[in-house]
Amino acid sequence: MHRTGIRRFHLARDVEEALSLLSAYGGGGALLAGGVDLLRGPPGQVEGMIDITGIGLSQVGEARGGLAVGATTTLTEILKNPAASAYVGGILCEVLRQVAVPPLRNMATLGGALVSAHPWGDIPTSLVALGAEVRWRGEREGKAPAEELYRGEFRGLFRSAVATEILFPPWNGAFAYEKIGRARYDIALLNSCCGVGIRDGVVAWARVAVGARPDRGERLPWAEQALVGQKPRESLWGEIQDLVQGQVEVGDDRRAGAVWRRHTAGVLVRRALIRAAEKAGR
């Protein structure tokens, strides 16, 4: 046995084999995708590693007018994919380019980021804003919006299920992503993903999500409602900034204080909305 505490390594051939290995280990097995989080963890947590990168879940394609991404697709593979680059004006790639650094993006997978669900993560905030739906296989097949999963006991679910696919719906409008970290390489101190659709000169729909508050990214439905039916204009973005600064739930952690987060959340939402509206109006 090595310092990592891992006693066995399996290269699963398909989803069924991954699931049966997972169940054979009880709590001692773990699905290994990019390993960026799993192999960083404290040693001795995992007895049997089940590599799922060869089970046929690495692909990207258009689906139902939107985008379907296999769970073990790496962030680099997504960034290089033409369908992903074209999805809603390139929003997914705009986000992924801000995740970690190129060698880590060569390893990290979308499914791994979904399941790790770091509260400061760029990907969870975007999945929620974009209305992504997650598909999985466990005892049964299942699907649910990422937003709903994050409200429930998703960690328990993925101890005995494999996330297989993430589906991004089509949007008639545009999104933008804003992230603030201490440096280009750093994780977010705060992030925001916002989208708008403009019809007949007014906002027809809006999505506003803020993450790293320090809690995981969530939508702000009251901010979305305040946008719908309004004419996109400079003063509207200012009003939404004030609204977010008045109502967003934020907290302190060792990386940033609640006062700064409250103020900056409003600023990030305004910046993201301005860029999204500009793109949507083109």
Partner: protein
């Protein structure tokens, strides 16, 4: 467990432990260019190329390279016969203590494989995950741009 892979152009057939980090395996095989800086994916000192892509060998297990091609700095050039990219680092003064250099060279190599005319920003992005505590980054970026120029001029291998 048995693992078969290609290391710097030569076949390897080895018995490895299931939980052995790739970084440790490579160092045991004499690839001392592969450094352990942080062991948490943050510094880039352990960078190697697997099937042409730069990865962190501290965050990979040895069995994950079954059937793959691994390139370390030892496979790129030697002291007597450095690769043009290594020579560009020397000519540009992009090396001080040298601890970060293998990782820097390999991420630059990955970039130049697909793009022989990168902008300064593209080079900065490519090396953004590799920390250097002594040279600073300006000369490293200069070195990669010089190597790119040599590549365009056909002085490459």
């Amino acid at each position: 467990m048995k693992v078969t892979f290609n290391l710097n152009g030569g076949p390897q057939y080895l018995d490895v432990e299931p939980g052995e980090p790739l970084l440790w395996l490579l160092r045991q095989l004499g690839m001392k260019s592969v450094k352990e800086g942080c062991a948490t994916g943050d510094c880039g000192a352990c960078t190697v190329l697997v099937d042409g892509r730069a990865v962190r060998s501290c965050l990979m297990l040895a069995p994950q390279i079954q059937g793959k091609k691994v390139l370390t700095l030892e496979g790129l050039g030697t002291v007597d016969d450095p690769h043009p990219l290594q020579k560009a680092f020397l000519d540009s003064g992009a090396v001080q203590c040298g601890f970060c250099t293998p990782g820097m060279v390999l991420v630059a190599y990955e970039l130049l494989l697909g793009n022989d005319n990168p902008t300064r920003d593209e080079v900065a992005e490519a090396i953004s995950g590799n920390l250097c505590r002594c040279t600073g980054y300006v000369k490293i970026v200069d070195a990669v741009l010089l190597a790119a120029q040599w590549k365009r001029e056909g002085r490459w291998r």
